[in-house]
Structures are given as C-alpha cells and as structure tokens.
Symmetry: C2
Subunit: 421 residues, 2 copies
C-alpha cells in the first residue's frame, strides 16, 4: 500500500519570514526516498485554533502527518497538546525523558540552572513511541490513531534532520510493505533539460524502479527508486538501471549517494594523500569556502589566494605583468599562470584557479559576463577549461567553482580532464 | 481594516524537496512590512484538484491569496487556469503580454526559436491587472473577486522577488487604508534573547508603531512598523521609537533598512576610498566570499589569503614561525600578524584576519571549539577581538566573518572598536 504524508510546520517565525521552511525540504527529500507521497506542506503559526484546523484538514487527506516545531519549552508545547487533543490522547509524564532533559542540560551548560518549564517537554501522548532527542532537549514522538500515523519532530533544522534520519525513518520503514530503496547518481556538466530529453522515453517506460531527474545549482541528480519485498531485491532492481544510466553519462556521473563534488574531491585527496590549494578571481573565495565547509578539509587543504586585482595576481601569485597586459586578467594564459602560481605559493600538490566575469557588468576590456576560465595545475602540467555560465552573478560563481572541483575529481580518478562522458 | 493573506506555492519540485520554499519567506517578510497578517502557507504540487482544494480552503480564511509558481509554459499555466476557474473568470488573450514575451526571447536568445507553448503565458484572467514581468517570460496578474484579492507571481525566486517588490507591493499598498511603514534596525553583537529581554516591557506597551525582534545568523533585526493616514505621519510615529531604540543599543546598531554588515562596509569603503583585504584561517574564504557576493565589491576589495596551514601563514602572510610555535595558530599574536601580513602582501589600506577552531574537533593543542580571534590592521595599528561562538561549524564561521566586518565598520565610522553600545 502506498502512503501519503502531509507536513505541518508550526512556528510564527515562518509566517513572518524570519526563516525559510527548510525542514519541509529535508523531510520531502527523505519521504520521497522512502516512496511516500507528499501532496501538501502547510505552515501555521503558534496558534492553537489554526493548528487544529490544519490538523483536521490533513487527517482527511493523508495517512501520515509529520509536524515540525512547537515542541520547545517556551511555546507551551503547543504541537503536542493540539495533536494529542485532535486524536483523543492524554499527555502523560514520561520519566525517562525528564531524566534525559536534565542530563542534556548538565552536559551542555555545566551546572547552569535548568528552568522548570523544561519539564513540560517530558509530557507526551499516552502510548506513543518516544523519539529520543540526542541533539536537543525536546523529545519527539510518534503514534497511530484512527488509521493515521502522527510523527512530531523538533523545529531547529539540525535537530529535525537528525531526528528524522535516526528516529522517524526507522519508524516509517516499518509501515512499508516491503522495502523501498533509492540511489541517487549525481551528474555535473550536462544541463537538466538535456538529461531529461535523453532519458524521457526510458523514464516513461520504467515503473519499478522509477527514474527521475532533479536540477540543482548547475548539477543534475538522477534518482532511481525501487520497491520490493526486501532491500536486497530492491537493490537488484536498481542495479541494471544504474548500469544503463552510467553507460549513457559515463564520467559525467561524479558519484552515487554523495552530497557534493567537493565531498568527492576531499575523499579522493585523502585517499591519494595529496594536498590542494586555489587561486580565485571571479569566485572570490567560494572555492575555498565550499571546500572548508566540509569538516576534515584541513587534512588536505593548504589554502587559497583570492586575487581580485592585477596587483595581487602579480605579487602574491607571480602572474607575469606581461600576460596581464597582453591578454587581460580574464584569459586562458592568466588562468594557467594563476594555478601554477598558487601551486608554488601555497606549496600544494594540486592547485585550481578561476578567473572570469561574474557580472553584473562586463570587465573594462569588454569581456562578456559569464566567460570564465578554470585551470588545474598538477605536477604533470596545467589544464584550462573555458566555460560560459550564462547570466547571474551567483550562478556564474557557483558553476565556476564546480568546474574547478570537477577538474580535480577527474585528475584524481585518472579520467580525461575534458567535460565529456 | 486589517488584511489577512495566505500564500499558496504551486510546484511538485517543492513537494519532492528539490527546492525550499524561499518565495514564502520573502513574501512573508514583505507582507509583514506592509502590516498584512499571514496565517498559513500552503504548498501543493502541479495537480489541478489539489490546487483547487487549497484555493477553496484559503478563500474561506483570507482576503488576499498570493500564489507563486505554475505560470510557466511547461506546466500548462496550471495556476492561472485553476484560480480563474475558482473565481469564475475566463482567460483572455492579452496581446501586449504576447509581444513582451516575444521581445524577451529576442533579447535573451538572440534569434533562438521561441516555441509556441510560450504564447500560453499571454492568456490571463479577464479584467485582471497584468503584472508585467521584466525578469522572465511569464506575466503575473492580480484581480479581485468575491471580496478576495488574488495575486499570481512566477515561481523562480529571482523573478518572484522582483515581481513582488515592483508589481505586487504597489497593488497591495492601494488596498491599505492609509499607509503602513516599517523600518528595520540591524544589531550585531547582542543575542536575540538579551535584546528581547531588554525590550519586552516596551514592546508590550507599544501598539502603533509596533516593535518586534527577529534573530538572523548571529544578528538581530528590530522592526518598527507604523500605520497612519499617510507615509509622513507613519514616519513621524516611527521616529521617536527609533530614537529610543538607538539610545539603548547605540553603535551595536549597524544600519537601518540595510541587508548586511558587508553591504554597509562596502559603501563605507567606497565613500572613504579605502581598499580592503583579508587573511582567513577558520573562516576558510567566507569573508572574501561574502564580500564578493556583492556586485561592485571589486572597487575596494583587493583580495584575500586563505591560510589553512602554518606554512601558508608563514610563507604567504609572513607570520613569524616563532609566533606559531610559541602561541599556536589560534592565538591573539597570530591573528595580529595575519592581519598585518595580509595588509602588506595584498597592498591594501585595511586588512582583517580570523583564526579559530570552527570544529567539529578541538585543534591539536586542545584549543576548544568556538574560540576565535579576529583582527583588524589599519595604518594606525592592529586591534584583536577574542570571541567564543559556541558550537556548530557553520555558525562559528558565520559569526567570525561578521565580527571581521563589524571591526571594519567601526573603524570606518570612527567608533570605539570594542563591541559595545
């Protein structure tokens, strides 16, 4: 039987636009991977009547309701109270949760006072499955009533995400008849419409597993999802489709079930025990920033130079003034010299560079917005890739940084450095 | 009369978690500034029945419905069809919109074929106000029926945001009895709970204008909103409250109606005709990235060095090895030497540095996660600020970068460089 879930986010801060509902995105991704349909997201404020109305609407059209937020001590446990009431449950005091909350405070606040209102979080719907929260104070919970499964998760994204993955997913997996498995292949270097056009006929033929593309900041995710009596059989259904997709896109696929190009590069650099650095002009620090967003980057990353002027390119990176004069800062020879210069100045095994016009305006030589050169310097030499990102400053910068990581990935896996299958 | 708006986002990609509903956040902020209540956000897929159900629910509880998405040529103009149907309107062909769409294609695609389905976008509800789209192909529209105002905006965030600001806001302002004006003061260096505690009593007293705090990545926004017969009178209501708030928080307030610390710094640097550069360890490029996210940064930004190893700190920034050995990379003397070194190496008037432990693990000397030193080097000398960010790698990095911009801002406005009112 196929399940339908509805997400209800509780929080006035969402209605004021103080934060975006990223929990809904995270949960939707996870539910889609479990093969559970999501037809509606709803956001309500910290208001009992309106939350109740949203719950009544949701229970009429979904058999799984997942709430986020409204579990904290300052909001009077609004969500638990209303959901319990809607489904005719009493709240009961859950001693082990009270102890966990105390313990959490002891660990985090080293003796700081725990205010009494924190104990409210230990009141939970009678007979529920308590979802222990190792990432914050408010426990979540899950129960079934009138044929509807209700799951309540805390709102802060870090807690919500961990609670979903480690607490809600195991609960939801038990609801499924058999297993649902999905595998996501990530493609860099081919547009979404091109990937979709190439696969459209095949996607329409496939029923189990299904195959679906998702565009994401210059990349495309291809998700293969199979249903079967158990995980092994689901995996067996996925394998031939994955093989088929890999045959089409070859080395444009940079990973399966990975989160980003830079994550793949980090793990390859660690394996090969090589260090890396960068010289950035148009990306202005984005390559370094994306790489150092990853915990553990310091094992292989030596550093970067953001050279936003000819002077810095010349003095810090050693780019010859003659090259800058003859070809301009946005040129193949300067990209090459920047990568070589970074490799030398930073003392790293591999260095990438990016120089281009991110916009909004062309440079003083009239170089058009979106023209970018990305280079990789290795002990064997330098390779330059010329790209045209189209318009949009953020997009141009993001794509340029991704090309730099793609060059590194191809080099580290011994692939042809050109962007092709 | 006070208005209530409901937001309906249309798009299966939202229900699959492919993207977050950032349009809802942007619209909520804007509506809140106009004094319009928002009680619900709803997200539905590209499905006529479910969209219709969402519209029927919304019209029963709101007098303004704003939809986002579902206007493009590939989705069969789902949103316009359903909304027109729900409110008993026919769609009519709008010739000027067809010409605009053709024009948009000519400009962007330089002669590329415009497919016929693009003309669908020129069919609009009879008698509606057409909201011309200068940022994409699909026009928006607005109409009133049965006491409900319906506004349809395109989904892509860049288009949605511009269309709201330049097309929907003027329409909504006409609905208001009199004017609503708001002013947002941004505070750096004081936590949300502390700001709230300090203002709670005053906030409760105030009715017109209202005063409300919003937390945002280590900063607090204080929004003052007034209603009055016209804008001037509203401004006159805001002024004394702004003065009162400024008296409390003084120079912790870094701007009014600005978007970020770095934006303030960019405009101060331009005014003062000074250049800036940075040396980053724990922030790993984030300072440079945030600054170069701003169009026009190149007028004052010379560059940055991301020094993730002692070697780069020594060889590129000229930090004495003796300092690194004696105090370690995360120390006051090294932060100082990094800023001075960056100023020299990059040839800029002002340089900031950041060195600290972003986590997840302490450094090899046992320096705890969250301890960070941020420094500013100027022609007059160097100032170092020691901060403790608490846990969370992303948060630690964000806060460190913000402190660097705050030091620059204080220096450029001749303020005491210490973090105090």
């Amino acid at each position: 039987m196929s399940h339908t879930a509805e997400l209800i986010a509780v929080g006035t801060e969402l209605l004021l636009g103080n934060i975006a509902n990223t929990d809904a995105q995270m949960l939707s991704q996870g539910l889609s991977r479990l093969g559970i349909n999501v037809y509606y997201h709803t956001v309500v404020g910290d208001n009992p009547q309106r939350l109740q109305a949203a719950v009544e609407t949701a229970r009429a059209r979904a058999d799984i309701i997942i709430t986020t937020g409204g579990l904290g001590p300052t909001c009077d446990d609004l969500t638990k109270n209303i959901l319990a009431q809607c489904f005719g449950k009493r709240l009961v005091y859950h001693e082990p949760s009270a102890r966990r909350i105390e313990e959490y405070f002891r660990r985090l606040h080293r003796g700081g006072e725990m205010t009494q209102n924190n104990y409210q979080q230990a009141w939970l719907p009678e007979g529920c499955t308590v979802l222990e929260n190792d990432w914050g104070t408010a426990p979540g919970c899950a129960f079934e009533a009138d044929g509807v499964h209700v799951i309540m998760l805390p709102g802060p994204p870090r807690e919500c995400s961990a609670m979903f993955r480690y607490r809600a997913v195991p609960y939801l997996e038990k609801l499924a008849d058999g297993a649902i498995l999905s595998r996501t292949l990530r493609i860099f270097g081919r547009g979404e419409s091109s990937v979709e056009a190439e696969l459209r006929e095949r996607m329409n033929q496939l029923e189990n597993p299904t195959l679906a593309p998702y565009a994401k900041e210059g990349e495309v995710e291809l998700r293969i999802t199979a249903r079967a009596p158990d995980k092994q059989q689901a995996a067996a259904l996925i394998a031939p489709v994955e093989e088929e997709v890999r045959a089409r896109f070859g080395s444009l696929i940079y990973g399966a079930d990975v989160t980003s190009l830079e994550e793949v590069v980090l793990s390859l650099l660690k394996q090969r025990k090589l260090t890396f650095g960068c010289a950035e002009s148009c990306t202005g620090g984005l390559i370094a920033k994306r790489f150092t967003d990853l915990p553990g980057a310091s094992a292989v990353f030596r550093g970067g130079v953001v050279s936003y002027t000819d002077g810095v390119k010349r003095d810090v990176l050693g780019v010859p003034q003659a090259l800058l004069d003859e070809f301009g800062a946005v040129s193949e020879p300067v990209a090459r010299a920047m990568a070589q210069g970074a490799r030398q100045a930073l003392g790293c095994d591999l260095a990438v560079s990016a120089t281009g016009v991110a916009g909004p305006d062309p440079d003083e030589r009239g170089t058009p917005v979106g023209l970018i050169f990305v280079a990789l310097a290795t002990p064997e030499g330098v390779t330059v890739r010329q790209i045209t990102s189209g318009t949009g400053r953020t997009r141009a910068r993001t794509i340029a940084a991704s090309h730099a990581f793609d060059l590194l990935r191809r080099y580290l896996t011994g692939l042809d450095l050109r962007l092709r299958p």
